[in-house]
Amino acid sequence: MKAPLAGIRVVDLTMVWAGPFGTRLLGDYGAEVIKVEGPGQWDLLRGLGGIPRTVDRWYNRAAYFNHNNRNKYSAAIDLRQEAGRDLLLQLLAKSDVLVENYRANVMDNLGLSFEEVRAVNPRIVYVSMPGHGKTGPEAHYVTYGTNVEQLAGLVSVSGYEGGEPLKTGFSYGDPTAGLAVPAAVALGLRQRNRTGEGVHIDLAQRENLTGFVGEYLVDYSMNRELRAPAGNTHLHFAPHGVYRSGGEDRWVTIACENDEQFGGLCRAMQREELAEDERFATMAERKANEQELNAIIEEWTATWGHYEAMHILQRHGVPAGAVLTIPEVMSDPQLRARGAWSEQVHPDAGAWEVETPPWNLPRTPGHARIPAPGFAEHNSYVFRDLLGLDEEAIARLYADGVTADEPNVRSHT
C-alpha cells in the first residue's frame, strides 16, 4: 500500500539536526525529499563524523549525518548566485513542500521568501522552523538545540531536587522541533488540497517546546510561584525515583502510583511488613518518608542487575524500568522484537544498523528505503530528469560554480 506521503516532493534546505530529522521523517513515510546544499554551504554534520580528511569522500561517511539524512536525495546548488536561486525556484515549481531552518531573515535575503516562492508555485507548503520564529524582536538571534530548551522554560524546572537548573543530556530542542514537522506538513497539505492555495508555516522551535512545559506556565500564571527542580520525585507519588543496581553506574527506575503497586514492591523485595509499616502505609506517608523508603529500596535493587530488578518488579505489577545506556538501547529485546533496527548499506560508508521509522502504520508503513545521499549524488536526477536541463546548461552550472560534485572542503574547518 502507498505510504502516506507517496507522491509528495519536498525540497529540504535544512541543516544540522532539527530540520534534517524532521525531513527524514517525511522521507521515512514516503515523500521524495531532495536535500539541497551549497558547494560551500554544506551541512556541517558531514564534517563531524570523526573521519580523517585523508579518507576518500570523508564527507559522505559521517555517521551522524548519514543517520539524519537517509531517505533523501542530494543536489548541490549555490543559492547565493542568481543562477542558483533560479534553479531552486524551478525545482520548487515542481515540488509540494519546502522546509528550511535558517535564522529568520536568511531566506528573505536570498530572495526566497514565501511570497517569492509562491510566485512560482502558488500551491507550495512552505515550512520555516527557526529557533525564535520568523517575527519578533529576537527573531535574528542565533540559537541551537540546547539554547531552545533554555528559552522554552524547560531547563528552569529540570535538575536534582534542591539543585540548580540542569540541561537535558543532549540537544533536546532539536528533535522535539523535528517531530512536529510531519504534522505541520500534513496540516499544510490538507489546507492546500482544500483551498488550492499554499501556506506559510512558522514553527518557532522555542514555542513548540514551551508546549512541553505548559502546565508550569499555567500554574505560574495562576499562582505566581516558581517551582524548583524536583529531580526524579513526583508531586504526589512515592516511591518515584532511580535506584542503584548491581554494576558500574547502572540504575533502575521505580514508580508506585497506588497502594496495590506498593504492595507488589514489598512482596518483590520480600519485605511485606513494609506495606503495614506506619511510615509507609499510605501514599501520603510514603511521600512524607520518601528518603527513608528510598534507602530501603536501594538496599534491595543493589543486589540485582537493572534489567533483573525490572523484570522481577513487573512480575509483581510494579512499574519499573532499567536506565538503558546507548549500547543497551541497541540490544534491548523489546526494541529488537519491534523491529526497531535494520541494516543499511551505504556506498561510501558501508553497512551499519539504523533505526526503522518510529511509528507503526501497518496499512501504509514507513521504510528505511535508501541510505543518506553522498554530496551531490543526485545532481543528474534533479537537473536532467526533473528540470529537463540539457548537457550544455548543466556543464555551465558546473563551470560557474553554481553546482559541484564535491563540497568545498575549506568551509567548516
Partner: protein, 394 residues
C-alpha cells in the same frame, strides 16, 4: 478561512498527559475533540499544581492546560452500556486517540477490529510505552520509566550523581507529539484511500532515533562515551551561573569569532590555543574557566542581548516568569489568555506552529461531563438510552 482541522472528529480516551496532549493539538487546530472521561474524570484532574494550591478537579493546571478546546463526556467504558454508547460515537469519528496498556485498552472496548467493523475509515492511535506487541508490551510504565527505557535518562545528570529526568513529563509529551504527527499522516492516507488503520506508537521506539549522535556513533564507529556531563558539556556548550540566574552557550565552530566578541574577549581570537575547533577542544579546561568567569560577572538579560547583537548563541535560562515577560513571545502573541469558568483567567502557551493568525483556537478545558448529554444526543441516542449511561438529567 476554516481552521486546518475543521470537520475532523476525534474521540480521545486519554488519560494524564500523552494522549491528552495529542488531543489538545487536534482541538487547537480546529478538530472537534470529544474527551471521553471515566467516572470521576481523567486522573490529571487529581494532579496538582492546583489554583491557590487547593485540590479541585476543575483547577489542576495540568488538566486545564492539556485539555483546552475540548468537549467532555463522562462515560463508564467498564460497563456494556458505556461501551455500546462509545461504539455509536466511534461510528462517526475520524480519529480515536488512546494511551492504555494494550490489554486494558481491549477491556475498555478499544479493540481495532471491532471499531473497524463499525467504521472502516477510522484511524485508531494507540500511545504506549513499548508498543502493541513484544515482551514488554504489558509492562507498566509512566513518564519516569519511559525516560529511562528510551535511553534519554542515562545521558542526563552530573557525572558523579545518579541519572535524572528532565522537568515535568517530557517522555509523555514526546509520545503526544509523535502521535499527533503519525495521526495526521494516517488521516491523509485515510482520506486518500478510504481506509483507516491502527497506528501503534511506542514511546521507547520514538526515543531511539533522537539520542543525538549516540546511536550512530555507537552503531557505526563503535564509540560510546558512557558518561553524563551535567551542565558543562564543554567550554562552548553548557549552562553557567551568572549574577542573577544562568546563561547558556552553544557555540559551533562558525560562531567562535562572534562569541569572543560578544563576551568582550577579542583577544581569544589571537590566542593560538583557541585558534581551531580542535585546539579549543585540547584546551577545553582553560577556555571553560574563562567562560565560567565571564558568565559569573554577567546579568542574564544583558548576556542574552549581547548574544543577539553579535549573533552569538548565548541565551539565558528562562523561568516561567521570564516567559510571561518575554518581549519575543509577547510580540508574537504566543501567550494566550484563556478564561475558565472555575479556575478563572490564566496565560497558556499558544500553537506549536503558526499557519496564519487564525489557524488556532483557545477554548478553556471542559468541566467534567459538561457535554455528556449533548454529545450522546447528537450521536442519536434516545433519552432513555442516555439516562442509562449518563444517569438522570442534572
Amino acid at each position: 478561512m476554516p481552521l486546518p482541522l475543521e470537520g475532523i472528529r476525534v474521540l480521545e480516551v486519554g488519560t494524564f498527559v500523552s494522549a491528552p496532549y495529542c488531543g489538545r493539538l487536534f482541538a487547537g487546530y480546529g478538530a472537534e475533540v470529544i474527551k471521553v472521561e471515566p467516572p470521576g474524570g481523567d486522573i490529571a484532574r487529581a494532579h496538582g499544581p492546583f489554583k491557590d494550591r487547593v485540590p479541585d478537579p476543575e483547577t489542576s493546571a495540568l488538566f486545564l492546560y492539556l485539555n483546552t478546546s475540548k468537549r467532555s463526556v463522562e462515560l463508564d467504558l467498564g460497563s456494556q452500556a458505556g461501551r455500546d454508547a462509545f461504539l455509536r460515537l466511534a461510528a462517526d469519528a475520524d480519529v480515536i486517540i488512546e494511551n492504555y496498556r494494550p490489554s486494558d485498552a481491549r477491556a475498555l472496548g478499544l479493540d481495532y477490529e471491532r471499531l473497524r467493523a463499525v467504521n472502516p475509515r477510522l484511524v485508531l492511535v494507540s500511545i504506549t510505552a513499548y508498543g502493541q506487541e513484544g515482551p514488554y508490551a504489558e509492562y507498566r510504565s509512566n513518564n519516569l520509566i519511559a525516560f529511562a527505557m528510551g535511553g534519554q535518562m542515562f545521558l542526563t545528570g552530573d557525572p558523579d550523581k545518579p541519572p535524572v529526568k528532565n522537568g515535568g513529563y517530557q517522555a509523555d509529551y514526546q509520545g503526544g507529539l509523535n502521535a499527533f504527527s503519525a495521526a495526521n499522516l494516517a488521516l491523509l492516507a485515510a482520506e486518500r484511500d478510504g481506509e483507516g488503520q491502527h497506528v501503534d506508537i511506542s514511546v521507547q521506539h520514538c526515543m531511539a532515533p533522537i539520542l543525538e549522535a549516540g546511536v550512530p556513533f555507537y552503531s557505526y564507529n563503535g564509540l560510546w562515551l558512557g558518561q553524563r556531563r551535567g551542565n558543562l558539556m564543554s567550554s562552548f556548550m553548557g549552562v553557567y551561573p551568572c549574577l542573577d540566574g544562568q546563561v547558556g552557550v552553544h557555540v559551533m565552530a562558525r560562531n567562535w569569532p562572534p562569541f569572543a566578541e560578544a563576551t568582550g574577549h577579542p583577544e581569544w581570537l589571537e590566542d593560538e590555543r583557541f585558534a581551531t575547533a580542535e585546539s579549543r577542544r585540547e584546551h577545553d579546561d582553560v577556555l571553560m574557566a574563562e567562560v565560567i568567569a565571564w558568565a559569573a560577572g554577567m546579568r542574564k538579560k544583558e548576556a542574552y542581548a549581547l548574544g543577539g547583537e553579535f549573533r552569538a548563541p548565548i541565551t539565558f535560562i528562562h523561568t516561567m516568569e521570564d516567559l510571561l515577560e518575554s518581549p519575543q513571545l509577547e510580540a508574537r502573541g504566543f501567550l494566550r489568555r484563556i478564561e475558565h469558568p472555575v479556575a478563572g483567567e490564566a496565560s497558556y502557551p499558544g500553537p506549536p506552529w503558526w499557519m496564519g493568525p487564525d489557524a488556532w483556537r483557545d477554548g478553556p478545558a471542559p468541566l467534567l461531563g459538561a457535554d455528556t448529554r449533548a454529545v450522546l444526543a447528537e450521536a442519536g441516542l434516545s433519552e432513555s438510552e442516555i439516562a442509562t449511561v449518563a444517569g438522570a438529567p442534572a
